[in-house]
Symmetry: none
Subunit: 215 residues, 4 copies
């Protein structure tokens, strides 16, 4: 976690640096990220970096924590339908999750790397991250089978895997498909997510899975 030095920085400067960290750690593997490049881009002295963070790992963990918070905040901010059946929930999650990847592609990328790449993470945290959504999906699916809303012969583990794999790649794929770059997104914001085309792409994916899963 960053030192107080960093937290006390003027808002403008701190968020400028955070943005650069975000871009650098999102664009490359952890090992390849260069402190020299970061301080050069940020226009700060090398020593200053180490006054803000313990070391490279500390800066990364700060970013990861931020990404998690952003994601949680984002998910909570989305309107939920607690009355809806299970598949509605899944549909909502997929939409919200994808929209998160879409609105915060850099944060999403940070999370992705934490789950699948070689980053300096306590092992426990790492395992938690990797299996996090998968276990969530699995539980939801089991419940769905029990209450009869999903096919009784679904294998919860592997059904969850399909959701997870789809879910983990959807945002990236959509951005790629509609030729949206993180830059262009920064300009238009999540507004562009409302594009009809994109909505219907998302719907296409969801409805395919729906038909495969529903009773």
């Amino acid at each position: 976690m960053p030192k107080s030095t960093y937290l006390n920085l003027p808002e403008a400067k701190r968020s400028a640096i955070t943005q650069i960290l975000l871009e650098e750690f999102a664009a490359q593997e952890y090992k390849v990220v260069s402190i020299s490049r970061i301080v050069e881009r940020a226009g700060i002295a090398k020593g200053s970096f180490y006054q803000y963070f313990e070391d490279k790992a500390d800066a990364y963990l700060f970013l990861l924590d931020l990404a998690m918070q952003e994601k949680v905040a984002f998910m909570n901010s989305a309107p939920q339908d607690p009355q809806g059946d299970l598949f509605t929930t899944l549909r909502w999650m997929m939409a919200a999750g994808t929209r998160f990847e879409f609105s915060n592609p850099l944060f999403a990328q940070i999370g992705y790397r934490a789950a699948f790449e070689d980053v300096p993470l306590p092992d426990e945290t790492k395992q938690l991250m990797e299996s996090g959504t998968r276990i969530f999906f699995e539980d939801q699916i089991k419940a769905g089978i029990d209450d009869g809303s999903l096919k009784p012969d679904l294998d919860p583990q592997w059904a969850a895997f399909i959701l997870d794999a789809t879910f983990n790649n959807l945002g990236r794929r959509i951005m790629e498909n509609f030729e949206i770059s993180p830059q262009s997104m920064a300009q238009k914001g999540a507004a562009s997510f409302a594009d009809l085309e994109i909505q219907s792409a998302l719907e296409a994916v969801i409805s395919i899975l729906e038909q495969g899963f529903k009773a």
Copy 2:
């Protein structure tokens, strides 16, 4: 592509070096792979490496090319049923593809990195790789819709995406689930792939998708 020097090397030496390249480039991100480590493991002089390959990128591209060839050869070697309906083909592909990841985890990893990570690839090649199987899936799905074997309201593009995402992660996920390491695999070979448990996991995934896609 490697220099003629490399191709003229005695078969034994050349394949020993290739194997080491494979292991190194599969285990780490491109930028992090160390030539020093490679030549040390291979027991050759550093200068020799540069007599065999233009540079690091050249060695990587050689490997990637090999990976593609291996995959094509593997796929062609599997018994096909051209008479079967479209979904049979998809099922076969998924089984065969997973088996490839399974029998050649290192080659599969090379391909994966080429598609999703930061490697020195001509842009065209990169795009090709990324969309390779996806386009194939898309064509198959279109044909399936046309001949009535798949649901008429499937969106081919996004249906292909689901297959692709599932497909790209299945081998890894199975290996993880059954706690198979590349090492243990090297010993048992693809034989272990025949394990009943594994076969049924694969079947679970396929049958879920089948139900979502079939007319």
Copy 3:
């Protein structure tokens, strides 16, 4: 020498800081002592350090000066027997000196480093320090020869050297031999010096030299 800022500090704070300086400069070579560590341990701002002292060297010289004063005060405080013959004086000095090293191991270490290591000292001061006790010994020996209490054929210069070398290492050697650490000493104080074992070790050394020197 410290700035007036330091001297005007509340007694408690100043001596707390002095103690920390003492511990740090005693434990490590001058160049390796870290201002960062000092201010951290002392709980003061880095800027404050530079308001108290010109720079690192200034802090060190302050400490060295203190060490000298402490030693002089210590030596003067010990009961002397001006009536005793010369060797009694030498014996007293050796005992007192060793007891100083023993009661003030940190101050003694500061002095030792000044004499034998690479510290930022005006050359004159350095030479003075190195030869300080030696010249004192030499004078005492000359007087002893003159009044017949010491062997007439002693070479005062080299006899003084033997005393000096022995003297300079004795405290350390005793501490080592009886497995006394500066920490344990801080607890027990000079009291432990009274241990019979230690007293007899000291006596053994002195009596050997006595037999070599006495007429």
Copy 4:
């Protein structure tokens, strides 16, 4: 220990680098020695240093090993009188040892630092070094007491300490006294050791101790 790269270097270059290492590691504490300074003085690339040695510690240990070898070779080369009584042996050792410090002041300094300062040494080696000569002295003294050549009431442990302390500082002190610098020594060689003045200083020290020890 250095890599083969270093040992295969042209004699002239290797010994030039060795000399610079020697000067740097003799003049300063281990921690303070700078690889940058070494490669600059040696006119080699920084990378070359690491092609010769594993790391800083490796270079230091190489030097220490060399120092030990030099000392052993030097001691063995001196004429011995195996028939002589014990004190003759001690006298010979002191003369030879001092002459070693004198002819190889840099090597001697390396050894000194290994024994008394903070260097990266296996603990066992360090303890061995520290007590090496002291234990040797102690054994010799015990034997001397037994065969009646030394005073029966000597405390072997503390008598050995006096010899050790004297012995460890004598070379340095003589060089200081006669204003001999390592540079001037390099020119004149050990020849200067034969100076009458120096011989008689050495004799003065030895004879004082002799009188203190002999029966």
